[in-house]
């Protein structure tokens, strides 16, 4: 083949269309900047303080960590409705008198194990029991809340003074930011690496994008599905530690409706609910946008009901924009 021949053949092909993720992220970043501007204008004295910024990030940490796990599950073609309930169960289990008597390290390990264990049950039911993810995790949502109520006798369990190392995660500040923010950052970074730099991440996209093709390519789809739900459970365990640090309590009411916030953050972050496509950065940006809105409404003394309406509107707008951005070029 001559050089000219090659040129002709490549020249006939239009410039490679790339999926416009970057564009979408720019949109989210722009939304963040816009919201921050609104904050600066409406509450010049309170918004741009280091305390408020730290507060926003600490608030975002709980749901943010959960969203990392949720992103894996959704890209892998599933859904996890049980996240809020798993976080509550893990916080209750870690704050029982029995667990607390072993000290803060055991409390942390307990929260992680409870989250991961419940996530494994989700995964087993879905991957090997062939339950629809929606149903399996809905059942887990209900059952885990029930178990948490039973263990706590519907009472809020305080973290005892001798275990104040837990609370210290929230009160100790480095560079002006509480440690829980660094936990969030670490989980997000680890999640990004796992999704983008490892075989696990690649297979998550494959399993969610086309399970049949993944299976025929020799990927163990069921084992992978099991692992992604376990990962989501693990994230719920981490979130439980953060909520214990911030509130110094374990309670069966923690994390109510977190599943919806997490799913919404993943969706506005550009991840397809049908699986196979998405980014972790988008999900994190989605969490930040939501938290910032909450913060602005609180600072301006507005009702939570208005806040909910605004969030609903944002979900719809984000998905509409996304559909235009991702429309396949023909």
């Amino acid at each position: 083949m001559t050089a000219g021949d090659t040129d002709l053949k490549t020249a006939a092909v239009p410039k490679a269309p790339r999926v416009r993720r970057e564009v979408h992220h720019i949109g989210l970043v722009a939304a963040l900047v816009l919201l921050a501007l609104v904050g600066v204008v409406t509450e010049p004295d309170n918004f741009a303080t280091s305390g408020n910024v730290a507060g926003i990030l600490a608030l975002a940490a709980t749901i943010g960590v959960i969203t990392v796990g949720m992103t894996f599950v959704i890209i892998g073609g599933g859904i996890d409705l049980s996240v809020g309930a798993l976080m509550a169960l893990a916080s209750v289990w870690a704050t029982t008198l029995a667990t607390q008597s072993y000290g803060p390290v055991v409390m942390v390990v307990c929260a992680l194990l409870v989250g991961t264990g419940a996530g494994l049950v989700n995964g087993l039911l879905i991957a090997y029991g062939r339950l629809v993810p929606f149903i399996a995790t809905l059942a887990m949502l209900v059952a885990a809340r029930g178990l948490a109520q039973r263990m706590s006798d519907r009472k809020t369990q305080l973290v005892r003074p001798e275990n104040d190392a837990i609370e210290a995660l929230s009160t100790t500040k480095v560079l002006g930011l509480p440690l829980v923010v660094f936990i969030f950052a670490a989980v997000a970074a680890a999640g990004w690496v796992l999704l983008n730099r490892t075989t696990f991440g690649r297979r998550t996209f494959a399993v969610g994008g086309n399970p049949e093709a993944a299976r025929l390519a020799g990927i163990d789809v069921r084992r992978h599905t099991l692992m992604s739900y376990a990962l989501s459970g693990l994230c719920c365990g981490v979130a439980a530690i953060i909520i214990m640090a911030r509130t110094t309590t374990g309670s069966s009411t923690h994390g109510d409706l977190y599943e919806l916030d997490a799913i919404a953050a993943v969706i506005i972050g550009g991840t397809l609910l049908t699986g196979g496509r998405g980014t972790l950065a988008g999900s994190i940006l989605g969490v930040l946008v939501f938290t910032l809105i909450t913060n602005l409404f609180i600072l301006n003394g507005l009702q939570t009901s208005d806040q909910l309406i605004a969030k609903g509107a944002i979900i719809v707008v984000a998905v509409l924009l996304q559909r235009r951005g991702l429309r396949a070029p023909t």
């Binding site: 490679a16 996209f205 494959a206 994008g209 086309n210 049949e212 093709a213 390519a217």
Partner: protein
């Protein structure tokens, strides 16, 4: 009904029908005459244009040229519903019933018996029962869920739907494909009853024996054109029909083959012993040697694809075993098959092989990620280098590893699937319809690639519904009919009519 001037009246008359799709003329001058009360058989190879023709009749496609009259009136339905109202009903091969609805609901789907928006269940059931009885199946309960009926029952429901529209012409696309032998007899009984009442049937089947039994006249299509029409179904010799179906215009350039005895001293890569999957195939045994291309020829539904999928572990046989390099492979696990050195290019490239949103690179490496990772960490530089090497080796265009695979042509997508397996050491490649959706020019290129892979010592197991492809590419051919291998032989010793004969009737000419 139509004008009667000495000749028997014509119910449907098609002249010079042309239907173009981007890049192809699916129909390129089709003529067809169907008389009331006859069973008119439509014959042609895969790709001859039968499906497109059916869709034109069903109102799903509008022809670009040509004229159609039905019952003496010009016929140009805008929608499938319009075609049905005009009196043409189509029964597709994949029956289009809604499994969760009752028999009655399916029969009247789209034209429910209703008053003021409320369905009239009693009347619907009564009408459905009448129609089913007319078809000789009064025993099917109208309230039964359609999904719970056996294949034959579902077909009767489909026909009841056709009759509910007072159809004067019923198009049946391979109606016997899903039926057992005695059920076919019943189908024929129903067809005879319908034709006695003056309903015309356009009957499409690959099975010549059936056409001889039920058909009145035959029209043969080839490459989108009518090559012969109104042949008598019972008396036209088989070899004449086969010759009409085959005589091709387009010759594919197939690569040279090694001598037939070149493989005698090569080791067996694949050995299949007594493989059985009830309902699909039985007691299938064969071997593929290193460097050899073995082709399976057979009709859709003959079991050829199921054999392939079972060898690969996508299905699990009830008896028999599959050996790679003399050692058995764990059955029912594609993962095990891949670890032992098999690779599959499946029939439905888009739904079974590709991650359409993802890049060429991600699609290529997805089956061999372990090669590029240590403790799960991906070495993306090495992955990329290998992907680039494969893109160059197989001449994938455009040569861009980051391009979404959905934007590549069919031929280049297929090369990506092949390249997926070439990233690692492969012993056996399993190719199911490797050139489906690939245009003619790219086919020759793909054939070259497959032969080259074989020359490297990889065994190739090939399934294609295009007989010339199997004959031109394979070294050895296995003919599958009704789940059994009925013939095995060197590809050079067979020609297309002989294979078609084996496929359709089981006896050489």
């Amino acid at each position: 009904m139509g004008q009667y001037n000495g000749d028997p009246p014509v119910l449907l008359r098609m002249r010079g029908i042309v239907k173009r799709f981007p890049g192809v003329r699916a129909l390129d001058g089709v003529d067809l005459d169907v008389r009331p009360g006859e069973v008119h058989c439509l014959l042609g190879q895969n790709g001859a244009g039968k499906s497109t023709l059916i869709k034109v009749l069903a109102g799903a496609h509008r022809p670009d040229e040509g004229e159609i009259t039905f019952g003496g009136e010009p016929f140009a339905p805008a929608t499938p519903t319009a075609a049905m109202r005009a009196g043409i009903a189509t029964i597709y091969q994949e029956l289009d019933l809604v499994d969760g609805l009752s028999v009655t609901d399916n029969v009247f789907l789209g034209h429910e018996r209703s008053r003021l928006g409320f369905t009239r269940r009693e009347e619907g059931d009564r009408r459905a029962r009448e129609l089913l009885a007319r078809l000789g199946h009064g025993e099917i309960p109208p309230r039964r869920e359609a999904g719970r009926l056996p294949a034959a029952g579902r077909q009767v429901v489909s026909m009841a739907r056709a009759l509910s529209h007072e159809a004067r012409l019923i198009v049946m696309d391979e109606p016997s494909a899903a039926l057992a032998h005695d059920e076919v007899d019943n189908l024929f009984r129903i067809i005879r009853e319908l034709t006695r009442e003056g309903v015309a049937v356009v009957y499409i089947s690959h099975r010549l024996a059936e056409i001889r039994e039920i058909g009145d006249r035959v029209t043969v299509l080839k490459d989108g054109r009518t090559v012969a029409r109104d042949l008598p179904a019972r008396t036209t010799p088989t070899n004449e029909i086969v010759a009409l179906m085959t005589g091709r215009d387009i010759e594919h350039a197939f690569p040279d083959r090694p001598a037939p005895d070149a493989f005698d001293d090569r080791p067996e890569v694949l050995r299949v012993e007594g493989l059985t999957l009830p309902g699909s195939f039985e007691d299938v045994s064969f071997a593929v040697r290193a460097g050899e291309i073995v082709g399976l020829a057979g009709l859709v539904g003959s079991g050829r694809s199921e054999i392939l999928e079972t060898v690969y572990g996508a299905r699990r046989a009830t008896a028999g075993r599959v050996l790679i390099d003399g050692r058995p492979v764990r059955p029912g696990s594609p993962g095990a098959a891949v670890r032992r050195g098999m690779g599959l290019a499946p029939e439905e490239r888009k739904s079974q092989a590709l991650l359409l949103d993802q890049s060429v690179a991600a699609n290529m490496s997805m089956a061999g990620l372990d090669r590029y990772s240590a403790f799960g960490w991906l070495n993306r530089r090495r992955e990329r280098a290998d992907v680039r090497a494969q893109i160059a080796a197989l001449d994938i265009r455009p040569p861009d590893p980051d391009r979404p695979v959905a934007t590549l042509s069919g031929g280049n997508q297929q090369k990506v699937v092949l390249a997926r397996w070439l990233l690692g050491d492969r012993r056996l490649l399993v190719l199911d319809e490797p050139t489906r959706g690939v245009d003619v020019g790219a086919r020759a290129e793909l054939y070259g690639v497959v032969r080259e892979l074989a020359a490297r010592g990889i065994g190739v197991l090939l399934v294609s519904s295009e007989v010339p492809e199997v004959l031109g590419l394979a070294d050895r051919v296995l003919v599958v009919r009704e789940g059994r291998i009925v013939h095995e032989g060197d590809a050079r010793g067979l020609d297309e009519p002989a294979v078609l004969n084996l496929i359709m009737e089981g006896s050489a000419l």
